[in-house]
């Protein structure tokens, strides 16, 4: 096979790639930010000990964990507007779906970390007169969050990649822009290889960081 690589035409559209990458980063970090908030609230609901609140949180989690993200995006963009009798901006639908999706997973990660902390830690905090809120905030959460940091980063890496699905509802992210450039240049190999390279450049440091943190946590345990 002697394909003639030629990035010249593709690189002429570097601004599109850069813009797409920027959009990808925004949706990733935006949804991670909202997802963390949703995850904490859901986790609190799950641990609240209130039957109804716990049930609602569970239903939400399972709905979002048991359907593909692609299906969720299509549903929120095409089906949800009919339900509420209006229309929804594709960017809003994308951010909403991504946030709810990752929030469901974060909630489970946080919950796992919190319940993994030894009962003796709760007792020691209680024994010096801490309220359950003080104990959670000062004693349990710091240990739990440290323990789940690698899982949290891994889920966030997956989220970065998942963001590429928003292109199906025409949000102009990196994947969308690669397709646009391909359409203009008829250079699929270069367009899509460049896109893949950009994803790797963004995510490799993150996965390495997760591994490094995991190793360090093992040592300090």
């Amino acid at each position: 096979m002697n394909y003639n690589w030629d990035f010249h035409a593709v690189l002429q559209s570097w601004d599109l790639f850069l813009w797409g990458l920027w959009i990808t980063i925004i949706y990733t970090f935006g949804s991670i930010l909202f997802g963390v908030v949703i995850g904490f609230l859901t986790c609190a609901a799950r641990l609240s000990g209130l039957w109804g609140v716990n049930a609602i949180a569970r239903v939400y989690q399972e709905m979002f964990r048991c359907t593909p993200l692609l299906v969720q995006l299509l549903w929120f963009y095409y089906a949800f507007p009919l339900l509420i009798g209006g229309s929804i901006d594709n960017r809003v639908a994308a951010l909403l779906t991504l946030s709810l999706y990752v929030g469901a997973f974060y909630a489970e990660i946080f919950r796992g970390g919190i319940v993994s902390i030894d009962k003796g830690q709760h007792e020691a905090a209680a024994a010096i007169g801490m309220s359950s809120w003080q104990s959670m905030y000062r004693i349990i959460l710091p240990q739990a969050m440290k323990r789940v940091l690698p899982s949290f980063i891994n889920q966030s890496v997956i989220q970065f990649k998942n963001t590429s699905l928003v292109s199906v509802i025409s949000v102009a992210d990196l994947a969308y822009m690669a397709a646009v450039v391909n359409g203009q240049t008829y250079r699929p190999l270069e367009s899509y290889t460049l896109m893949a390279g950009l994803y790797i450049a963004m995510l490799l440091p993150l996965t390495q960081a997760a591994d490094w943190i995991e190793r360090r946590l093992k040592v300090s345990d």
Binding site: G120, A124, A127, I128, G129, R138
Partner: protein, 257 residues
């Protein structure tokens, strides 16, 4: 000596204390009154309810029936004080507890473990809390370890830090549940001598222990718990040297044998 009515007033009391887990009744109506400076040792076979009892005294377990009184005030089941009743939060500020498995905060240094209560619960300044903590750490012989993390300490050192952490609340009563049972035999002595020192300084304590000689040595009173009731109580001589209850006789014989 002047007669001070405060001296003999009970610091902490348990009145008709009952505790069940499901249908299993573990404590079947216990009464205890600890006067200031008293050191009570709780002995008894495994499963007799010693831990459950001592954990009811700071409401770590909620009694099914009966009352805990602290400084002659009933303790309610809520965290905050209300009216005549004091809350669990207040009770625990004044009644310290030391655990078998230390339960130090692994993400905090030795010093931070000890200052956590004074700063967060008692709202003392960091400077005050640190001075107090360093003083306590030197009392338990660990001043030079103040910046170490718990994982780097031996079991005996961990337990001494845990004692300092409890003392930092300046408690009026200290509850100790088998605090040497998780230690290697050669480390037991250093912890017992710290407790001995506290007893000499007049600290009011309830101690669950299997160290019979230590109980006899340090306790002003010994309680033999059996099947959820106080089966015998008295001085060390009475309970350990002249037991009357046949089950206590058997229990003591095993330790002397």
């Amino acid at each position: 000596m002047t007669l001070n009515p405060e001296m003999n007033a009970p610091v902490i009391e348990a009145i008709s204390l009952r505790k069940s887990y499901g249908t299993h009744e573990v404590l079947k109506g216990l009464d205890l009154s600890l006067a200031r400076g008293e050191v009570v040792a709780l002995i008894g076979p495994s499963g007799s309810g010693k831990s459950t009892f001592i954990r009811c005294l700071n409401m770590m377990e909620t009694p099914t029936q009966g009352t805990i009184r602290f400084r002659e005030k009933s303790v309610s089941r809520r965290f905050a004080d209300k009216g005549e009743e004091i809350g669990i939060g207040t009770l625990r500020r004044h009644v310290g507890m030391v655990f078998q498995h230390f339960n130090l905060f692994p993400h905090k240094t030795v010093l931070q473990n000890v200052t956590e209560g004074p700063i967060i619960v008692c709202r003392r300044t960091r400077k005050e809390a640190e001075e107090l903590a360093m003083d306590l750490l030197s009392q338990v012989g660990l001043a030079e370890k103040h910046s170490a993390y718990p994982n780097h300490l031996s079991g005996g050192q961990k337990q001494r830090v845990a004692i300092a952490r409890a003392l930092a609340m300046e408690p009026e009563v200290l509850l100790l549940d088998e605090v040497t049972s998780a230690l290697d035999p050669e480390l037991v002595g250093e912890v017992l001598s710290v407790i001995r020192g506290l007893a000499d300084k007049g600290m009011t304590m309830a101690i669950v222990t299997h160290e019979m000689a230590f109980a006899a040595d340090v306790a002003t009173r010994i309680l033999f718990l059996d099947q959820g009731v106080i089966a015998e109580t008295g001085s060390a001589e009475d309970v350990i040297l002249n037991p009357k209850n046949p089950r206590l006789q058997g229990f003591v014989a095993r330790f002397n044998g």
